[in-house]
């Protein structure tokens, strides 16, 4: 491929990854998926840098990408620690539970459309138990 055409095509792919990551970050409510979209934005930027490094024939772009990976790793560690703390408070990964932190003057997002009910469980025949039922251990996660 013509080197400039290859550069342009890689820039296009990087732009698409960045925009998709932005859509995911803005639209989703699960904290984990929001953070994964932010990481995808970083991948798009990294692709841009490596494409420019190839075009200009030096390794500066690749060195900077290495630093992006480093910072992304730090960011992932701290963000996941924060997510765990948030989970401990409300026992949910929903970001809408923290709407008290929004800017003053904005209306909160309220779920108006109810989720469809799960299909009713089929009625199973009740059999007489045989033997003694053992004690069950409650499984909980200690986060």
């Amino acid at each position: 491929m013509n080197p400039v055409a290859m550069l342009a095509n890689n820039l296009i792919v990087g732009a698409i990854l960045f925009a998709l990551g932005m859509v995911g970050f803005l639209a989703r409510r699960n904290l984990i998926i929001m953070f994964l979209s932010a990481e995808m934005m970083l991948q798009g930027v990294a692709l841009n840098l490596v494409a420019f490094a190839r075009y200009w024939g030096n390794l500066q772009g690749q060195a900077f990408t290495l630093f992006i990976i480093t910072v992304a790793a730090c960011e992932a560690g701290i963000a996941l620690a924060l997510i765990l703390m948030l989970y401990r408070q409300r026992h949910s990964l929903d970001v809408s539970l923290w709407q008290d932190l929004r800017e003053p003057g904005l209306d909160p997002v309220v779920d108006e459309v109810p989720l469809p009910l799960p299909p009713p469980e089929p009625s199973l025949p009740k059999l007489t138990p045989a033997g003694i039922e053992p004690r069950h251990q409650e499984e909980t996660s200690h986060v």
Binding site: A5, R29, I32, I33, V50, G57, G77, S141
Partner: protein, 336 residues
């Protein structure tokens, strides 16, 4: 024409975002697939494709599809796996851009460490499966509009920068004129020669064409103008001038680079790029050679040019580790 796959992709992603109620998944998937196919049809130039191009298109398609999946999956574990797919295809693209160390490093760090940590946190925090929040989106319409307006702006700028439509038009007319038999028919095929030459000089004045090539184009245009004004020249002599005009324009087009399909190539020309002063050495395809030992040269860069950044990066990692342990420390009542 760039607009249509963009609109289709935006509509597709909007339909695919999780929402309670009716299932719009199939329509959204169809719209996204159609957008991808249209974009491919616009950008891919059919004909003999080298392996490098085929691999690029495959990796790019998988990366974009993985990105779409990541954004629209309900199950966070499925989203983490789509992110792994995006990272692996981006690593493939890194390898195509002569960055083998970055490919290995990204695969190990992202797909090996970061995604595993994510899956750990999902397993700790969301053991009941999908929560209510996973079936809803916050403002899907506004988010899609924002993201795709940004993408439209970026693609518009890229398309405007990397296009050579006017130069291609001029090159086609030169090639058509060159194939004529008499000077009069050559003149007629060029259209108005003064018009043609002024348009050609405008192309040479493009700031992205390097100075030696622009000078070549100017000289060829001047020679052609003199030749067309003189009487009694044979068709072969004018053809020689037209050849030089085409050659100089072709070299400039290779440097400008384009997302458009190349104009028809007249086979008798020498396509090897001229060696200009102060330019890095390029091979026959016009590509600059990167050093072969990627890891050695990256290491030398990191320890000489970017030493401060490496030290700061190490300090940042240390601070982040201490911070993460302090934030999500042990579950003792007294500490919190």
């Amino acid at each position: 024409m760039v607009l249509l796959p963009l609109l289709l992709g935006g509509a597709g992603i909007y339909l695919l975002l999780p929402r309670p109620g009716k299932r719009t998944g199939l329509a959204g998937a169809l719209a996204c697939g159609l957008a991808l196919l249209l974009a491919g049809a616009l950008l891919v130039h059919w004909g003999p494709l080298p392996v490098e191009n085929i691999l690029f298109y495959i990796f790019a398609a998988i990366a974009i599809a993985g990105g779409g999946l990541l954004v629209t999956q309900r199950n966070p574990v499925h989203a983490a796996l789509s992110f792994a797919l995006v990272v692996l295809s981006t690593c493939g693209l890194f390898l195509l851009q002569a960055a083998p160390f970055l490919m290995a490093a990204t695969t190990i760090i992202y797909a090996g460490a970061i995604i595993v940590t994510f899956v750990f946190v999902i397993m700790l925090a969301q053991q009941a499966g999908l929560s209510d929040a996973d079936h809803r989106s916050r403002e899907p319409a506004l988010a899609c509009i924002a993201g795709f307006v940004l993408l439209g702006a970026l693609l518009f700028v890229l398309h405007g920068t990397y296009t050579t439509r006017s130069l291609d038009n001029l090159l086609e007319r030169t090639a058509a004129a060159r194939n004529q038999d008499t000077v009069d028919s050559m003149r007629r095929t060029l259209g108005d020669p003064d018009n043609f030459l002024s348009a050609y000089r405008d192309e040479a004045a493009n700031f992205r064409v390097p100075l030696p090539m622009a000078t070549d184009m100017e000289n060829a245009a001047n020679e052609l103008q003199l030749a067309l004004r003189k009487e009694g020249l044979s068709a072969d002599q004018v053809r020689g001038h037209l050849d030089r005009v085409y050659d100089a324009g072709w070299q400039a087009r290779q440097r400008l680079g384009s997302l458009d399909a190349p104009p028809p190539v007249v086979p008798s020309f020498d396509r090897l790029p001229k060696n200009a002063q102060g330019e890095p050495i390029r091979d026959r395809a016009g590509q600059v050679a990167l050093p072969h030992e990627n890891v050695a040269h990256l290491g030398r860069l990191l320890f000489t040019d970017y030493l401060l950044a490496v030290e700061l990066g190490g300090t940042l990692l240390l601070a982040a580790t201490i911070g993460a342990i302090a934030i999500a420390g042990r579950r003792t009542e007294g500490l919190r």
